[in-house]
């Protein structure tokens, strides 16, 4: 996915940057997987066991 160009709306992009969420982590629900403002707003930080896996 990372080498594919990520489809994201301009507002969503700004919002994600502001919140420090990498776009790669967000599931886009718009046409052709486009990340929308709502997707960023609904984004949940990964739960703690994922963090533990990295250790």
């Amino acid at each position: 996915r990372s080498d594919d160009k990520i489809r994201v709306s301009p507002v969503a992009k700004k919002l994600a940057e502001e919140k420090g969420i990498p776009l790669e982590n967000i599931e886009g629900t718009g046409p052709k997987g486009r990340i929308t403002k709502e997707d960023v707003e609904n984004y949940q930080l990964p739960v703690s066991d994922e963090v533990q896996e990295q250790d």
């Binding site: 709306s9 301009p10 507002v11 969503a12 700004k14 919002l15 929308t36 403002k37």
Partner: protein
Amino acid sequence: MKLVILGGGPGGYAAAIRGAQLGAEVTIIEERKIGGVCLNTGCIPTKTLLRAARWLHEQEKMEAYGIDVQMKLDFGELMQRKKEVVEQLTANVEMLLAAHRISTIAGRGIVKNSQTVKVATEEGVQDISFDKLILATGSRPMMPPVSGLDLPQVVDSTGALSFKEIPKRLTILGGGVIAVEFAILFEALGSKVTMMEMLPTILPREDELVQEAMTEILRQRGINVYTDATLKKVEKAGDGLKLTATGVGIPEFLETKNLLVATGRQPNVEGIGLETLGIKVHNKAVEINEYLETNVSGIYAIGDLTAKMMLAHTAAHQGLLAAENAMGQTNKMDYRSIPGGLYTFPEAASVGITEQEARKTRGDIKVGLFPYEALGKALADYEMEGFIKIIATAETNEILGVHILGDRATDLIAEGALAIGMEACLEEVAHQVHGHPTFNEGMGEAAMAALGLPLHLFPK
């Protein structure tokens, strides 16, 4: 899958076509004429008359270009043209339905139970069974409780569209989109027009700048615009009417040939069997969720009946999604980027929220305003009246609203609608190259102005 649609207006027929495209066996029940209000007595006939009225209005402009012009309107011929346009369009829609193998039943339908609609046709009563049902019965003019509105000189929009002659004096009750279109229309055709609106302003849903500019345009054309005015009584006087009104600045008595009542429309919720299944009605409109479904599973409602934004394209889009959802998809209806238009000359159009609403609900905002008179195309075309206004959040520059008054506004708004639909920021519109000379250059300029860097505006 049997999909039945009650009502053949723009909402209903769009649902029928999409349903057929997705493989449903579709039946559409229509008691009057396919095309509904929009094609028969709404959008299309008004726009046909307005096309002619605009040419009449433009005579002064033509003279400015060295054209010595004489025009004489035959109102009967114009009404004939209107009739032909309507007939051609409704015939097209009928052919389209037939080509999609959609059955059309002429008659009044009523929900009988959770699988059946009962239809009273010329050949008697028929029971039509369905798996899914889409209600699309539309709306009708609302008549305020004023005595004398039953006099024959009092008409609703449908009546005004079948005048036999142009009324010398026409009074219009109401100040919404339909009222303003008729005011501009009949003034250009030669009527002496008066408008009477109960609220403090005409076009109550539009941006204040549009309200003010349109009021000014109406007044410049010799139309009396009374706001904060209430009609009290209507009486016969000669072959016309005597109106009694109250309000600031309005004469107590007004003489008029005809009175056009355009005070709004109400959904057709009655007599269609909603009670039978317990389908919920709220504020006289059928209640629906984001997926256009009523509280009864498998039964959808769309269009004016749902009183969301009473526009033909809202109805049609709801119709497409309702059919898709009836066929198993799960598409949400989003009303944020639906444009609205006013087919006057100049036109007006808007999408999103007004500056006033944005200030109230979104706090810090940016506003970009660009006047038509600074556009080369406006000068070349003698269309200097107007502006494009764009509203965005101050923080992220997210575009919240676009408001246009001026030539071609109803088509220019498409760019604004797509911008909001795609969640564009001011930068996207400002950096987009717009063709020269066009009216849409004003959109780029308004966005640049909101960002503080307009090209053709004087520095502050």
